[in-house]
C-alpha cells in the first residue's frame, strides 16, 4: 500500500530544490505554500509579477497595506533590501530570462514538457491568463506542482495536452502527489516516488511513458 505526498509535503519537496540566491516566482495557489518551507537562513529572492522583489510573508493582522500586495492580490510585506518596479520591468525579469525558477500549478503537463494551466476551454468559461504564459517561457527552470490525477482518476501527466496550452516544451520538473519527474530530451524520467510505490504502479496511473530513475 502506497502513500501519497500531502500538499504540504509537495511544497516542502519543491523548497528543497530552491538554492540560496535564487530569484524565484511562486504562482498563485499551491505554489504559494512553498514559501512556508524555505528556511529563514537561506536567502531567496521572491519575485511578484505586480512589481516587487524581496517579497516577505503576510503581514500581522491590522498591518495590511492595500498598496503592498502579491499577484493573488493578497497583502504581503517587503523584506529589508527589497525593491519596487513597474510592470514592464517586472515582465522583463521573466521574459528576459532573469528569474531562476518559477513554480506553477497545472491542469496537464505532457511528456515533452508542454504546459496547460490557464483555461479549461469550456464554452461557458471566461478566459483569463494573467502572467502564466510569460512565466512559462521566461524562467530558466519551470517547476510544476499538481495532483497526479484528476478527481475522477484521470492522469494529468499526458502524451499530449487536451486543454489549451500555456507554453510549449517549457516545463523542467514536475512535482505531484505521487512522484517527482524530470522532463528530459528522452522523455519523462522518474526522480522520486512516494513511499511504497513501484515504477509499475506509477506507470499504471500515468498516461505518458516513464523512464526509470537513474541510481
Amino acid at each position: 500500500m502506497s502513500t501519497r505526498y500531502t500538499r504540504d509535503q509537495m511544497a516542502q519537496r519543491v523548497a528543497q530544490d530552491i538554492p540560496e540566491g535564487a530569484y524565484v516566482n511562486l504562482g498563485i495557489g499551491l505554489p504559494t505554500k512553498v514559501a512556508n518551507y524555505l528556511p529563514p537562513e537561506r536567502e531567496v529572492f521572491l519575485h511578484s509579477e505586480n512589481g516587487l522583489l524581496g517579497m516577505g510573508p503576510a503581514p500581522a493582522p491590522g498591518e495590511e497595506d492595500e498598496d503592498l500586495i502579491n499577484a493573488g492580490k493578497q497583502p504581503v510585506t517587503l523584506l529589508t533590501g527589497g525593491a519596487y518596479f513597474h510592470h514592464a520591468d517586472s515582465f522583463a525579469m521573466m521574459r528576459g530570462g532573469h528569474l531562476d525558477i518559477c513554480v506553477l500549478g497545472a491542469f496537464q503537463v505532457s511528456h515533452a514538457g508542454d504546459l496547460a494551466n490557464w483555461h479549461t476551454g469550456a464554452p461557458d468559461a471566461i478566459p483569463a491568463v494573467g502572467g502564466a504564459m510569460d512565466l512559462a517561457i521566461g524562467a530558466k527552470q519551470v517547476f510544476v506542482m499538481m495532483e497526479h490525477q484528476t478527481k475522477t482518476g484521470e492522469s494529468k501527466v499526458v502524451e499530449r495536452c487536451t486543454y489549451p496550452l500555456t507554453g510549449i516544451g517549457c516545463v523542467s520538473r514536475l512535482y505531484t502527489d505521487l512522484a517527482v519527474l524530470d522532463v528530459t530530451p528522452a522523455g519523462l524520467r522518474v526522480r522520486e516516488m512516494a513511499p511504497g510505490l513501484t515504477l509499475a504502479d506509477l506507470q499504471a496511473v500515468t498516461a505518458a511513458p516513464l523512464l526509470p530513475p537513474i541510481d
Binding site: S48, E49, N50, G51, L52, D65, E66, D67, L68, I69, K73, L78, Y84, F85, H86, H87, A88, S90, F91, M94, R95, H119, D124, A125, I126, P127, A128, V129, G130, G131, A132, M133, D134, I137, G138, P164, L165, T166, G167, I168
Partner: protein, 221 residues
C-alpha cells in the same frame, strides 16, 4: 509659468470623449485611480475602450464604470476573478468585448506605444490560442509572436506625489502600470495623494518625469 495641476477631478476628465481609448492604472485595487474613475462616471463618456490588467473588482472603481455600461471593449490579461461579477454578467450577455492578452505582452505593448516602437517579437504565447492568426518568426532558433503597440487617448493613473511639472513618485506596488501607461497615452492624468512644490521631489527618485504627464490632480480635497 507651467502648471499642470488641475483644480478639480471633474475638470481633469472633462474632455474624455465618447469612444475614447482610456488606459486605467492599477493591479486589482492597488494603484487604481478611483477618484478619476468616479469623475469619469459622472462626466458620462460612453462606448469606451478600457486598457487595464483586470476587469474590475467588487463594486467600485473600474467595476463601477463597467456596471454603468460605459465600456464597449476591455483589453486586459485577467478579467475573471472571484469579485469580477459586473464584468462577468456583461460578458455572458454579449454586452462587452474582451481582448485577452498575456500580462507581460500587455505591459510591453503599452511600453512599446510609449517608446515609439511599432511592435515586437515575443516568445510569450507562441503556439497558444492567444497567438492564433498572429505573425510568427524564428530568431536564433526560438519561436516568437509579433505583438503590436497599444496606444491610448487618455491614461488615468494614481501616484503618491506630483508637482506642477508633472513629475511623479508612486507608493509600493501601486506603481504597477502607472509609469508605462503615462508614456503611452496622448493625455495622461495623474491622481495624486499630495501635490508638492517644484523641487521637493528628489530628482534621483522621480519615477515618471513630467514629460509623460499632462495633468496632475489631488485625489481628495
Amino acid at each position: 509659468m507651467i502648471d499642470k495641476t488641475c483644480a478639480s477631478l471633474e475638470r481633469a476628465v472633462a474632455d474624455i470623449h465618447d469612444g475614447a481609448t482610456v488606459m486605467i492604472g492599477g493591479f486589482g485595487n492597488a494603484g487604481m485611480p478611483s477618484a478619476l474613475i468616479d469623475a469619469l462616471i459622472a462626466h458620462g463618456a460612453r462606448e469606451l475602450t478600457i486598457v487595464n490588467n483586470n476587469a474590475g473588482n467588487g463594486d467600485t472603481g473600474l467595476a463601477a464604470l463597467i456596471k454603468e455600461k460605459r465600456v464597449r471593449k476591455i483589453v486586459c490579461s485577467f478579467p475573471r476573478q472571484a469579485d469580477s461579477w459586473h464584468f462577468d454578467a456583461l460578458y455572458r450577455a454579449g454586452d462587452i468585448e474582451l481582448e485577452l492578452t498575456p500580462q507581460g505582452n500587455l505591459a510591453e505593448r503599452i511600453r512599446a506605444a510609449g517608446a515609439g516602437i511599432g511592435g515586437f517579437f515575443t516568445p510569450t504565447g507562441y503556439g497558444t490560442l492567444l497567438a492564433e492568426g498572429k505573425e510568427t518568426r524564428v530568431i536564433d532558433g526560438r519561436h516568437y509572436v509579433f505583438e503590436t503597440p497599444i496606444h491610448a487617448d487618455f491614461a488615468l493613473i494614481k501616484a503618491l506625489r506630483g508637482d506642477r511639472w508633472g513629475n511623479l513618485v508612486y507608493r509600493k506596488t501601486a506603481r504597477n502600470f502607472g509609469p508605462i501607461m503615462a508614456m503611452a497615452a496622448q493625455t495622461t492624468i495623474a491622481q495624486v495623494v499630495e501635490i508638492v512644490p517644484l523641487g521637493e521631489l528628489d530628482p534621483e527618485a522621480i519615477v515618471t518625469p513630467g514629460i509623460f504627464v499632462q495633468r496632475v490632480v489631488k485625489e481628495a480635497a
